[in-house]
Amino acid sequence: GESVGLHLPTLSVQEGDNSIINCAYSNSASDYFIWYKQESGKGPQFIIDIRSNMDKRQGQRVTVLLNKTVKHLSLQIAATQPGDSAVYFCAETPAAGNKLTFGGGTRVLVKP
């Protein structure tokens, strides 16, 4: 079946460095992509989204890149801070409907 997955289950980053989290998706009909951050004991928190007609979108300290040719999505976090330690999920929806399909998540650990 269609799925969204992540390449790296755990990412350890030095405080102040940039983080890159990768995600592969297999559904070619995916049209809308979202990155969520989930801290322990909390629900997923929206970080940034991108639609399939875009290649790049920037937010505050975060950038999402979409490569539709190879069905790859990435989240870049600039100047990673201790508060960025969490599990990050990519999710996608098809053009029709609003059902989110999540990957398994990547844990980011920020070392002081």
């Binding site: 629900g43 997923p44 928190q45 929206f46 989204d49 639609r51 609003n98 059902k99 989110l100 990957g103």
Partner: protein, 114 residues
Amino acid sequence: DAGVTQSPTHLIKTRGQQVTLRCSPKSGHDTVSWYQQALGQGPQFIFQYYEEEERQRGNFPDRFSGHQFPNYSSELNVNALLLGDSALYLCASSSGSGAQETQYFGPGTRLLVL
């Protein structure tokens, strides 16, 4: 402006029992989606409610049912609980009838089935 709220925060049930979880959407939102998140995994879509009707459904058995009220709040009901139903149940709200509306999540209800 309150975000998505869920109750209760934690719940312990035994096999065979029934449970009802509640969700109030973010102000201005009219669509509610429910997800199940097993430990160490990503959330799995259960179903979505819009205009008090189930609009989409994931691969969950009929033991999982829901309801949306006129004020857009929603309930998730699970009958004949199994040990495997132990999970974090997340509610997400969004606005509009169109697709690709950003979904905002509540803190979840942690259900433990013994």
